[in-house]
Amino acid sequence: MMPWIIGQPIGVAHYMAVGAVLFVAGAVCMATKRNALGVLMGIELVLNGANINFVAFGSKLLRPDSLGLDGQLMALFVIVLAAAEAAVALAIALNFYNNHNTVDVDRADELKG
């Protein structure tokens, strides 16, 4: 059992599997949470799952023909944009909370026809 788990070589596919799990966790989180901040956390998870794939494809240590530096640079841009997105989304959530005294996204339906 132990040699089987920690004796196998790791490839891009394994990193992608972790990325897929994080992505799906984030997507389900976005879909099911009623708290606006929970939805935000789901977005962070989705972006991180994508980032794992970028880094894995850019890694020289996993396979001979890697994406090179581009993968890491894209990951950096994603991190920065995620920070910016979180700041704006949080400002919107706090604004919503100030105006409606709730963070339940199901009650954010003022524009509903």
């Binding site: 994080l22 949470k33 956390m41 998870l45 991180n48 890694s59 020289k60 240590l61 530096l69 700041a87």
Partner: protein
């Protein structure tokens, strides 16, 4: 390095990958399945921290460091502030409807199956046979990616200078333009977020609620309990580190006796110690199961040691050590139990959930 038989079969890249991947995935699932927003924030922190470990492992140390500094240190602090500003009783734990759960898990599960299937069917993404040896040469040779990233951000591609195709080489102008756009974007976001989140007059009729904190156990008892638990945890960590050092570089006099222990002893001990650390953390984060786990593991660890010593030539000595460890563990568990249930009014036990 001459490793003892226990560590000879361990590929440390694989071992650490498994560790970080498990932590990241388990805590990501925790984010989904808990309905308490404060716990979600904590689980997310751990998950993203483990992700940065994966980045370090893939040789992207700059991205890993940025993940820790910007994500875990910045974005999550922002999120946690948001949680604290809105965490009124009604919003801390918002239950999702069961029908939503069924639908979400069904669609999410299908997506996961699809993604995993895709990830493992492309041949060039699979692990490369015999790559470990070449990897070692790469690790020694070219890991100064931080410099290359810095130069790429100001417009030069040091890593692609030997591009022979002229048409492609012209396109490799680095990332100066995206970098500038991101800079301006951040400025806009800074101003916009500050503008939107500034205090405005509240809607009439809404009385700002003065939050009354729930009755809590006396602060000093909580502090004492936390210190005891922290000591227990530090003891475990020290034990694990000592065990690893002991196995990697055993003292000359003891080296031959060490081989007669079974190979699984160290991984199992580390696993149990890690579990116990998790239980201690669980108690600190107000989970009742943490205490039961702590008690069970405290009994289990000496038993495992005693069990592994079957047929060892110093059986008596090892059994004595195991019995001593058992007694010390039981005393520690007793102290924790006493602190949790007997002192303070109301007791801390009544506030665990």
């Amino acid at each position: 390095m001459n490793l003892p038989p226990l560590l000879a079969f361990v590929d440390f890249h694989t071992f650490l990958f498994t560790l970080f991947a498990l932590v990241a995935c388990v805590f990501a699932a925790g984010v989904v399945f808990t309905s308490n927003i404060v716990r979600m924030a904590f689980y997310l922190t751990v998950s993203l921290g483990a992700t940065s470990g994966l980045f370090f492992l893939a040789g992207a140390e700059f991205v890993g460091a940025m993940q820790l500094m910007i994500y875990v240190g910045g974005t999550l602090v922002l999120l946690i502030f948001g949680v604290m500003l809105t965490a009124q009783d009604a919003f801390v734990s918002m239950k999702t409807r069961p029908s939503d759960w069924v639908l979400g898990v069904l669609v999410g599960g299908s997506l996961l199956v699809l993604l995993l299937f895709a990830a493992f069917t492309v041949p060039s993404w699979r692990p490369v046979e015999g790559w470990a040896e070449e990897r070692a040469a790469i690790v020694a040779d070219e890991t100064q990616d931080t410099t290359r990233i810095g130069v790429a951000l100001v417009g030069g591609r040091v890593d692609k200078q030997d591009e022979s195709n002229a048409a492609v080489a012209d396109g490799l102008s680095g990332y100066l333009l995206p970098f500038e756009i991101v800079s301006v974007h951040l400025l806009v976001v800074l101003i916009g977020a500050g503008y939107m989140a500034r205090t405005k007059r509240r809607r009439s009729g809404v009385v700002p609620t003065t939050a009354t904190p729930p009755t809590s156990a006396s602060k000093q008892y909580v502090a004492v309990t936390t210190i005891v638990l922290a000591l227990l945890w530090l003891g475990d960590v020290a034990g694990v580190v000592a065990g690893i050092v002991f196995v990697v570089a055993p003292p000359q006099a003891l080296a031959e006796h060490l081989d007669s222990f079974p190979d699984w002893l160290l991984p199992v001990s580390i696993f149990l110690a890690a579990l116990r650390g998790l239980c201690v953390l669980a108690i600190i984060f107000w989970q009742k199961w943490g205490f039961f786990g702590l008690a069970a593991l405290s009994v289990a660890m000496p038993l495992v040691l005693a069990f592994s010593a079957r047929g060892h030539e110093y059986l008596g000595v090892i059994l004595g050590v195991a019995a001593g460890a058992l007694i010390v563990n039981l005393i520690m568990v007793g102290i924790v139990h006493f602190l949790l249930t007997k002192v303070g009014r109301p007791t801390m036990w009544s506030q665990l959930d």
